[in-house]
């Protein structure tokens, strides 16, 4: 579904991504792990063009997304994103956060958008918070609303950029649980995370990145029990010890 070909990204002199080649198939849950500064987030942000790749290509459903004729906004509607800092719209209530894009971008009627939003809110158990503003929610609630907001656009894939890193430990579970459900339902997901248990349990593939390169790309069993590369071993040793 998404093919990333020879992707490079540099910020000035700094090469953050070096020759990344990955294919993501429909329904896959690809977890990207690696030390901080390894380019994981930049990789994710290149996929929906929040960062403009320096060179290389990204092919989505057979078409290059870097071509001039591509409608970036149309493309982004199909690729949801969930951020580390949630980024709920502070001036909108919970339900407005979810309905804003369907109404303004997809030209959905307000009633229809609210209907979808209420179903999503019911699913994440936050129906009673529908008229609250984001600042009244806990971190875990915010992130679940952010996921619902992405889902309301009925995307083909969702990118998760360290979705639990800004959460208090007791709230990590509720967010991971929701993500796990989505994975089981067959949503295509690319997840940058430090939650190794999630990677082990839910991922169809795990990609280990270091210094802007993909070091290893294989099944979770393979990576966690039998890592091929020394850097992967060192990283996993460090992470799994604590």
């Amino acid at each position: 579904m998404i093919d990333i070909v020879n992707l490079n990204k540099s910020f000035g002199e700094l090469n953050v991504l070096k020759d990344i080649n990955v294919s993501i198939n429909k329904g896959e849950v690809v977890v990207v792990i690696g030390p901080s500064g390894s380019g994981k987030s930049t990789f994710l942000r290149c996929i929906n063009l929040l960062e403009q790749p320096t060179s290389g290509d990204i092919i989505f459903q057979g078409n290059s997304i870097l071509g001039k004729e591509l409608d970036i906004e149309k493309y982004r509607q199909k690729i949801g994103m969930v951020f580390q800092q949630f980024n709920l719209f502070n001036n909108k209530t919970v339900i407005e956060n979810i309905t804003l894009a369907p109404i303004k971008v997809k030209n959905m009627s307000k009633a229809e958008a609210e209907d979808i939003a209420m179903k999503l809110l019911k699913r994440i158990n936050l129906e009673d918070k529908k008229d609250e503003y984001p600042n009244k929610l806990s971190g875990g609630q915010k992130q679940r609303v952010a996921i619902a907001r992405a889902l309301a656009m009925k995307p083909d894939a969702i990118l998760f950029d360290e979705p639990t890193s800004a959460l208090d430990p007791e709230m990590v579970g509720e967010v991971l649980e929701l993500m796990k459900e989505l994975a089981i339902e067959g949503m295509t997901m690319i997840v940058v995370t430090h939650e190794m248990s999630f990677a082990r349990e839910v991922a169809s593939r795990v990609i280990f990145m270091d210094e802007g390169e993909i070091i290893e790309d294989s099944s979770p069993e393979e990576i966690f029990t039998n890592p091929k590369n020394q850097r992967t071993k060192t990283f996993l040793n460090k992470i799994l010890k604590c």
Partner: protein, 218 residues
Amino acid sequence: MIDKEFITTYYGYFLEGSKITLMISLIGVIFGTILGVIVCLLKLSKIKILRFIASSYIEVIRGTPLLLQLYIVYYGLPMALPFELSRMTLGTIAVFLNSSAYIAEIFRAGINSIDKGQMEAAKSLGMSNGISMRYVILPQAFKNVLPALGNEFITLIKESAIVSVVGIHDIMYNSDTLRGITYKPFMPLVYAALIYFIMTFTLSNVVAKIEGSMKESD
């Protein structure tokens, strides 16, 4: 020191003057805001020529005296227009043009103060720049700059005194008139100062209150 007879006889001059001053300042800040937002959006535009126009506008207005701008509008605009504008309208136009440049910069700071994540989230949902600005960024920026706009209003109350030089009957002009007709060269100025001060002092307290209550709601 307070001359009761003077006040009871001539208070009307100050009352009328206050109305004019407040009206010019209020219209100035409202139209200045509308124009200021437009100039600010041009300045943040991706199109180079629009950015250039907006920057030039801001720099020229901020780099020349208000008095000069007033003269240019007051004497220049009627030459360019096929219909007549009142003195009051011309004066107000000069004031809000001047104010719009400052307000554009206020809004630019307000927009820049919004967390980048808000724009990224909007974009990630497929919203265009325009839609993101209109429904997500500007409402938040507007809330943030409300105190600064209040202060701009206060500034205009003081600076609008300059329109007295083209014969608009504001507080300043009327106190000058009183100096002439009463042969008291000093006291009308003191009364004028007092009125300006009461207005600005009251308003800055209101702005401070609004600022305080906004912090609570955040």
